[in-house]
Assembly symmetry: C2
DNA sequence: CGTGTTGTTGAAGACTATCAATAGTAGTGG
DNA sequence: CCACTACTATTGATAGTCTTCAACAACACG
């Protein structure tokens, strides 16, 4: 399997396309859309609260996490530009199972709950599109768990670097060199390890000239070598 | 958190209710339903194939897994009575990301793809119900991952025992004592460890009179003690 | 009743977490 | 813009957990 298709298996985005929806169905929605800018480290919604609407991300990265009994965060997913956030729990009428927080300054569109639900009820096309999207996202999740639980932490770090590079690439198109910029702790939580172990693995990658890092910023120098860390069978 | 509500957070079932659907919408479906009995270790569908229909489970346990590069199985989920299987990939028009195989003799209902999709297109109520169900299942998944990745393997084994007891309890209602009956390898794959490590942990539980085991069969003797293994904070 | 498969146990070693100390960074206010 | 300071990243040493390899015991099935 090629790395590109592996990464594709682990991204939500690829399936959502508003253009499949009749324009009439969308016209009401368009009126309700509010454009929002949010600063870094802003919490959009909290675990346990009922959702107030959905977000479409134009720019920036948002982390989704749960807090466990020890107060540690378990980061579930990073959302990037083009991704739709928060519609699931709105539909299932359950409280949010996660907290959403910006990792950097973001540009978003917000659609209030009632407007969205009304559009959903009126539009079978929208309903079907969401069904498809949701089903696809589910598959993505199954793949993610399956892969991350079977690999060693070193492999998980390599995979996470590749995934994040792709995501940051979409946010910072202007930069010639894509830089992953997040606290080590968030990164460690995401791959399911401690900060120290993560740092040691990054140290190895640095020594092998695969990445360079200054402070929290990580630059990928050799994507090919990194992909090799995932095991040769990915290149059949 | 109580253990019962923890288990509830990790089960798909609780949300699906055909009675929300108008009878007219269902009448066509009813005609298409085929009752099926399947023997132990029968593969219902394979990873990579396109789905042919959906299954509703009446009796028995079905395991869902992916096979990795080394040929090992990663078990994703166990389906039990009352659960609906295979509708996601049918909707998303993607090949199955997993293989489904019976763990014991099963009684199932099968609905062919075309009949189901037709009913879905004609019935906004069915579409909405599936949306809700899917959203709920997604939440279940997020919880599952979050919990299993944060805990030690010993805690995961304890949690898996509780989950499986509940699931086997629904299949074998006639038995006064619920017995979990599956290969050690499947159990180990499910909690993400090796057979040997699993056996050692079970050994400890046996010595503590929490479970008894003969061959592959595991009987839970002291659910309360087992729940304590999950950490005291679950009993606030 | 035999035989291949599955479950169990032991010992060694690899990997990861934890604790503690230091170096470096990013955000703050002047 | 600079200096200060709290926070974050890094490294080392150590302890604990989990995996691997190997051998044996128990079971299930024909």
């Amino acid at each position: 399997m090629k790395v590109a298709s592996l990464i594709d298996k682990l991204h939500f985005t690829s399936n959502f396309n508003f253009e499949e929806i009749p324009k009439n169905d969308l016209s009401a929605l368009r009126k309700s859309i509010v454009n929002v800018e949010e600063k870094k480290n802003k919490i959009l919604f909290r675990e346990g609260a009922f959702p107030k609407g959905i977000y479409l991300i134009h720019k920036g990265i948002i982390k989704i996490y749960q807090v466990n009994k020890d107060g540690d965060k378990q980061i579930i997913y990073f959302y990037g530009p083009g991704e739709l956030l928060g519609y699931r729990h709105l539909i299932s009428e359950e409280p949010n199972p996660v907290t959403a927080e910006t990792l950097e300054d973001c540009e978003l569109s917000f659609i209030p709950k009632d407007d969205f639900m009304e559009a959903l009820n009126k539009s079978p096309a929208l309903s079907n599109l969401l069904l498809k999207t949701l089903s696809h996202e589910f598959t993505v999740w199954v793949n993610t768990i399956s892969i991350f639980t079977q690999q060693s932490i070193k492999e998980n770090v390599a995979l996470a670097l590749l995934l994040l590079e792709e995501k940051y690439g979409r946010t910072h198109k202007e930069d010639s060199s894509i830089v992953i910029n997040m606290p080590r702790k968030d990164f460690a939580n995401y791959v399911g390890t401690t900060v120290e172990t993560l740092v040691r693995i990054l140290r190895v990658f640095k020594d092998e000239k695969i990445i360079s890092a200054k402070g929290r910023r990580i630059l990928i120098l050799d994507k090919k070598k990194l992909a090799f860390k995932l095991g040769e069978t990915f290149f059949a």
